[in-house]
Amino acid sequence: MQRIGVFVCHCGTNIAATVDVKAVAEALGHEPGVVVSQDYQYMCSESGQNLVKNAIKEHNLTGVVICSCSPRMHENTFRKAAAAAGLNPYLVEIANIREQCSWIHKDIATATEKAVILGRAAVAKVHLNAPLIAGESPVAKRALVIGGGIAGIQTALDIAEAGFDVDIVEKNPTIGGKMAQIDKTFPTLDCAACILTPKMVEASQNEKIHIHSFSEVTDVKGFVGNFTVTIKKKARFVDETKCTGCGLCTEKCPMKKVPNEFNMGLDNRTAIYIPFAQAVPKVATIDPNYCMMLKNGKCGVCSKVCSVGAIDYKQEDRFIEEKYGAIVVATGFNPIKLDKYDEFAYNQSPDVVTSLELERLMNAAGPNGGTLLRPSDKTHPHKIVFVQCVGSRCDDSKGKPYCSKICCMYTAKHAMLIREKYPDTEVYVFYIDVRTPGKNFDEFYRRAVEQYNVHYIKGMVGKVTPQSNGKLHVQASDLLANEQLHIDADMVVLAAAIEPDKTARPLATMLTTQMDTNDFFTEAHPKLRPVESATAGIFLSGACQGPKDIPETVAQASAAAAKAIGLLCKNSITCNPCVAHSDELMCNGCSSCEKVCPYGAITYIDKEFRMPDRTTKVRRVASVNPAVCQGCGACTVACPSGAMDLNGFSNSQIMAEVDAICK
């Protein structure tokens, strides 16, 4: 038999002025199961709580109903009080008779009647409350960072700084990411390599950081605090532990016509290569698509010249498995492919380039050693047209619907750098809007216009036509002058939209994190939890969550690190006990619940059941991981058999409330 105590709070006059609290206590005292019903001035006060605690002990209560302010206010207070008196904290229910009764009603009679009904619903519910015990699960003290660009490096450094081991998985032979390809950074114009490479070195030298370059995540199992991740270390045919990065092999390799991806294919590299001088790890990699030794067994030059014997043509992909407490996704972005934009002649003329290609063309370590020359004839361009928003803000299948955010600023940077270095070059920028929200951003853009005399034209380029004289005919509109412009340019630079890296989507599936329709990872809350994914223990760093410039990326990377550190600091995680659970006897294993679970908390197991005729039958049934479940209840409604229920808000509890209210 239930022994329920009801405690009605006056909240000074906040409740008592419009609700006859004595009458409420009296009425609820007559409810079945209620053994004590009292009212008090301030139930949340020390003495009010003592009243509750004493009643629990004195009457040996099995449930407590507090009629007071919103549970969002003091539910925890009273749960703690109950726990202190030896009653399971989840046997406490709150009837909200302040915010949802006394404060909104004026008539004492009706407000009192409603307060009684709300109290009765809480009593009905508490009859069915079960004691819940919050579970705990241990936390593996190691973090995984997926992606070794500036976001991943920053996150790893911050986590390592806090004293935790952290692994970086980078799919390319070196960390550094897109930032390593960039020449200068806005709005300060400092050299990207000069600020990035020290961080790369720092990461490689930090004892706590373990870099798995040329590697990929192939499987993720487990949940917050307890992920098991399989990492594929792709064969690079060079023993990382032996290679000193001397580069002799790359000099001697006879296969020299491999498009150099680091330079956006604007020049060539050898089949065995180190992507760039400051690569980390500085280890050679053999490209099996071009290496003649790997393709037909004829060559072996690199092996012969290598003084430490690091070359290993027989190397195979290796898989390692590691446990992590937290995972940070930092998979970054890529410019979109421009094949569909015929009007800009990107595929027709080498002198039409993307902005990232321009970065390489202008970089001292780039194909032209830092001198800006037209890719076609290596002459100096005198007229350059920049086209903004190529593929951004598009409502069609060719492009992306969002603003890529970084293009306005880097285009101003490019224009300025060109005008600075080559004052004889005329620069036109065709824009739809110039977006410069950011510290010193607008000033930077104004400098390009005012100080460097870059021609900013509001309007879009309609067409670029390569001419026989090597010029590019640019046809565009100048909306403010209301005229069509025709410019014969030497080069055209396209600000291609950026998109999440292609590896992100399969990764999201493995991580059971959500993505938006553009394949950007979805944050747990767009305002308040911007660096966490909705899946506990998975954090988001950098452009994988949305377009970002370097300062924003670094800020988010550190924020994600802070969140990960917060998790790793704990020895164990206390789980919310109000989680879903499945009645295996009733579960059909139909997977409906799994499909609506935003957290991937539901898995299926084959379980053996004893059948009525004493045979056994193996059936697929759902199993909820209480450490991952957040208790939303979506699964309970998706389940047709009602096998899935939610602790603390069970079907029977909610229906008891409905019944009590409708009585």
Partner: protein, 339 residues
């Protein structure tokens, strides 16, 4: 014999329904027949039978038994039994008429079911002889003569007249109450109709179905028969057969929480349902095979064992035409029979 011309039947119905509630089989929009409370203009259905049997009048699908009023912590028990009104069911076929005899053996023996008795006492059963039996009919197997139905009063039709004959006191009272509308007449035409019907009965596909190898003493022959597995294999476990059956009598008692108390009611149960006779300790029939067997063993063996050889089936054929997968007592008897 007392009779009334078919075209005057409306006046007879009107006269009956003036004194007490009258129920007749009438056609619904979907073509099926069901018992409806007579209202002026309603036509007697020409269908052989209704989808639901006539047992509903004495043993309705749900019936309130008792109420508990609750106020705070006080509980008050309320007896809600009321004396039933008098009523007449007209046009009950011989099979359904026999079903009341079977139900009586369950509900009117000690302890008497007061709810059933109340209705039985107040209801007059007016039966109607069959003229156009269907291929699914097998009442003959249970010794029922559809041309001479039981019931308080039997009615025959020869196409021009309805003929009346009281079988019981209640039936006689009924005939007396409408005697002003009846006239005496010869039965020559009727005798021909009856003879014709009897001839058709002999030609029915199930005319040869016999119960001689079934009965109360056949428990050992059939309980462990290996046929049950095969027969029950396709059973969906729905309750169609039991709910259209005029003799199925099992019920479950349930409580319903109303706004101010509990209403205890009973409702039909089906031995085909997985929680049939489920008790605190568990369920004695855990598989569909056992539940399926229960239904047929009950009708063909257990019931006769306890009721002087009377079978728990009247051969109305409803389960034959309504079972979703066409598994029925005839197929069971034929498959099971050990000669």
């Amino acid at each position: 014999m007392l009779r009334i011309s078919i075209d005057k039947i409306d006046s007879l119905f009107a006269a009956i329904s003036e004194k007490q509630a009258l129920y007749i089989p009438a056609d619904r929009a979907d073509g099926a027949a069901e018992y409806k409370k007579y209202e002026a203009g309603m036509k007697l259905s020409e269908k052989l039978n209704t989808v639901r049997s006539a047992k509903d009048f004495f043993f309705p699908q749900t019936e309130n038994l008792v109420e508990f009023k609750m106020e705070g912590k006080k509980i008050e028990v309320k007896d809600i039994r009321q004396e039933s009104e008098d009523f007449v069911i007209f046009g009950v076929r011989a099979c359904d008429a026999r079903s009341f005899t079977i139900l009586d053996k369950v509900y009117l023996v000690e302890p008497v079911d007061s709810f059933y008795k109340n209705r039985r006492d107040h209801g007059t059963v007016v039966t109607m002889a069959c003229t156009r039996p269907s291929e699914t009919c097998f009442c003959q197997a249970f010794g029922i003569d559809p041309t001479a139905p039981e019931g308080d009063c039997a009615v025959w039709s020869d196409g021009s007249y309805y003929y009346f004959k009281a079988n019981t006191e209640k039936g006689q009272a009924f005939v007396d109450s409408v005697s002003s509308l009846l006239e005496d007449g010869d039965t020559a035409e009727l005798d021909k109709t009856v003879a014709k019907t009897k001839e058709i009965m002999g030609r029915l596909p199930l005319a040869k179905l016999s119960t001689e190898n079934f009965g109360g003493d056949k428990l050992n022959e059939y309980f462990n028969s290996d046929k049950w597995g095969e027969l029950s294999e396709s059973c969906l476990g729905c309750g169609t057969c039991t709910f259209v059956c005029p003799t199925c009598q099992c019920y479950d008692i349930k409580d319903f929480k109303t706004s101010d108390g509990i209403r205890r009611f009973r409702c039909w149960d089906s031995c085909m349902y997985s929680d049939f006779t489920k008790m605190a300790h568990g369920n004695p029939r855990l598989t569909q095979l056992e539940r399926f067997r229960q239904r047929f063993m009950h009708k063909l063996v257990y019931f006769p064992a306890n009721n002087n050889g009377e079978f728990g089936c009247v051969g109305c054929g409803r389960c034959l035409s309504k079972c979703p997968i066409s598994m029925n007592i005839v197929k069971v008897m034929k498959a099971l029979e050990v000669k």
